[in-house]
């Protein structure tokens, strides 16, 4: 890295990370790499979990959010339980995902972001998630032709009565929507 910039943007991001439960721990990162070594998907990431914190400190976090890094986190919490500094890394990843969505940076290919958005939409509509609807929305917004590859599985599930053809709306849907709206701020959708 040619130079290190701790600009206002990075400071704002750091403040956001510190505001999540236990987020203050981010400041205590030792750069030991235990997170990267523990992560089951770090081998496929453009930047490893350790490098995310380094990038944050160097003012390069937008580069990370534009890459295929944070959306490859599967939420297995392996890094979180092993981090010697006690950083809740999976929660840090969630905050970075939210930041990316806010800034229109959905990662390089955007598939996992599309899935998360489809999931949220289904819950907002029904109070529960309706899997066939989510899968349909997901392929519609990503690579529709790839849905063909899922037809075989859909048929096997259908034969066993494992496909819910109709969505179930909870009775308290209206009040749930009002609760969700009441805490809605600028983050995300």
């Amino acid at each position: 890295m040619s130079h290190v910039v701790v600009d206002g943007n990075s400071r704002e991001l750091l403040d956001r990370l510190c505001a999540i439960p236990r987020g203050q721990k981010v400041k205590e990162c030792l750069q030991c790499g235990t997170c990267s070594a523990s992560c089951p998907t770090s081998h496929a990431m453009d930047y490893s979990p350790r490098e995310i914190i380094a990038a944050l400190r160097a003012g390069l976090i937008e580069r990370v959010l534009s890459s295929n890094t944070v959306w490859l986190c599967t939420s297995c919490y392996s890094c979180t339980v092993r981090c010697p500094a006690g950083i809740p890394f999976t929660d840090v990843m969630y905050e970075l995902k939210r930041l990316g969505v806010e800034r229109g940076l959905n990662g390089r290919d955007g598939t996992t972001t599309a899935m998360a958005k489809a999931f949220v939409r289904s819950i907002d509509h029904h109070g529960r998630n309706h899997e066939p609807e989510i899968i349909r929305q997901f392929y519609l917004h990503t690579q529709p032709w790839k849905a063909l590859g899922q037809l075989g599985l859909a048929w096997r599930l259908l034969k066993r009565g494992r496909l819910a053809l109709r969505a179930h709306n909870i009775r308290g849907l209206d009040s749930l929507r009002k609760m969700l709206a009441a805490v809605d701020d600028k983050e995300g959708s």
């Binding site: 297995c76 995902k97 958005k117 309706h130 899997e131 749930l176 805490v183 983050e187 995300g188």
Partner: protein, 305 residues
């Protein structure tokens, strides 16, 4: 078992168990019933938000969990408000909300106000528990061993409770080397083969969003189970279940090794050991065949008599 000694516990099935993974729901209700524990479904529960909602909006995801916890408190009927959960994803989402709402005053204030405006109260009294832990700790060794009619003698099982059962808090099982499943399998007469991948990630949603990566992760688990001599895998999470059972042909190609192995919920194995019928554990729902397993189980039962 007399009616008076029956226990009741609130139960949160979660969206997956409504259709795609209903075999988990069916078998869980039957085996707990056989142990004198009645699962009472939480009325009008909503989705926990899983790992997706929190990736888009944090506070809203905590509202989803808080509403479920508030329902559990309201429906506790003078009981403890304990909520048994089958799905690892739901378990972590609700347990995390329970913990963070207790720790973070600002978060609690925002979320509780949103609920209160809709006539609901969350007091921090509900207790989230995973069904595997309820079965092992509350029902216990004696009751489970005593209920076994057809011990799974000679059946080798790779116990795979998954990543989110012991993590992130490590409260009910070791985050690295989980033991609950292994102990339970032993009580059923099965042989739990050493399975170091018991807490490794199955890939979760990556199986759909990043298939190449997802197949690598499930491939590692399936291959290791086979190479360890397992006759089947036992899961405790609906997402692990479908990831491991649905793509074995493709995964075998990616991994370059035969990855075909039956995948069952731990509740289905309990049911088989209890002598319940295939219908009572919805064995026909599974995408992998358990025929050989059931045959081995039957011959094992004969040997033990």
């Amino acid at each position: 078992m007399s009616a008076s000694s029956r226990r009741r516990m609130l139960y949160f099935p979660g969206c997956s168990l409504m259709a795609t993974n209903r075999a988990y729901d069916v078998s869980a209700r039957h085996v707990t019933d056989a142990l004198g524990l009645e699962l009472v479904e939480l009325d009008d529960w909503n989705c926990c938000g899983a790992t997706a909602y929190i990736a888009i909006n944090e506070r809203k995801s905590f509202v989803l969990s808080a509403r479920n916890l508030a329902l559990a408190e309201a429906q506790a009927n003078g009981g403890t408000g304990e909520l048994a959960i089958c799905c690892n994803g739901c378990y972590v989402a609700l347990r995390k909300a329970e913990k963070y709402l207790a720790e973070d005053a600002l978060l609690r204030q925002d979320v509780c106000r949103a609920l209160r405006d809709q006539g609901m109260e969350y007091r921090g009294k509900a207790r989230v528990r995973h069904l595997l832990e309820v079965v092992v700790n509350d029902c216990g060794e004696q009751a489970i061993k005593g209920r076994v009619r057809r011990p799974l003698n000679g059946v080798k099982v790779a116990g795979y409770p998954g990543c989110q059962i012991g993590r992130p808090f490590g409260e009910i099982d070791d985050p690295e080397y989980p033991r609950l499943m292994e102990r339970l399998l032993g009580w059923l007469g099965a042989e739990a083969v050493p399975f170091p991948l018991a807490s490794k990630c199955c890939g979760g949603m990556m199986m759909t969003t990043q298939p190449a990566l997802g197949r690598k992760l499930t491939g590692r688990i399936l291959r290791f189970a086979r190479e360890g001599g397992a006759d089947c895998l036992a899961t405790a999470c609906p997402l692990c279940q479908i990831n491991l059972e649905a793509y074995q042909d493709k995964v075998s190609v990616v991994v370059g090794a035969d990855c075909h192995v039956p995948v069952l919920y731990f509740t289905q194995l309990m049911g088989l050991a209890f002598g319940l019928s295939a219908e009572q554990v919805a064995l026909g729902d599974n995408l992998t065949s358990s025929d050989k397993l059931v045959a081995a189980d039957a011959s094992g039962a004969e040997e033990s008599q």
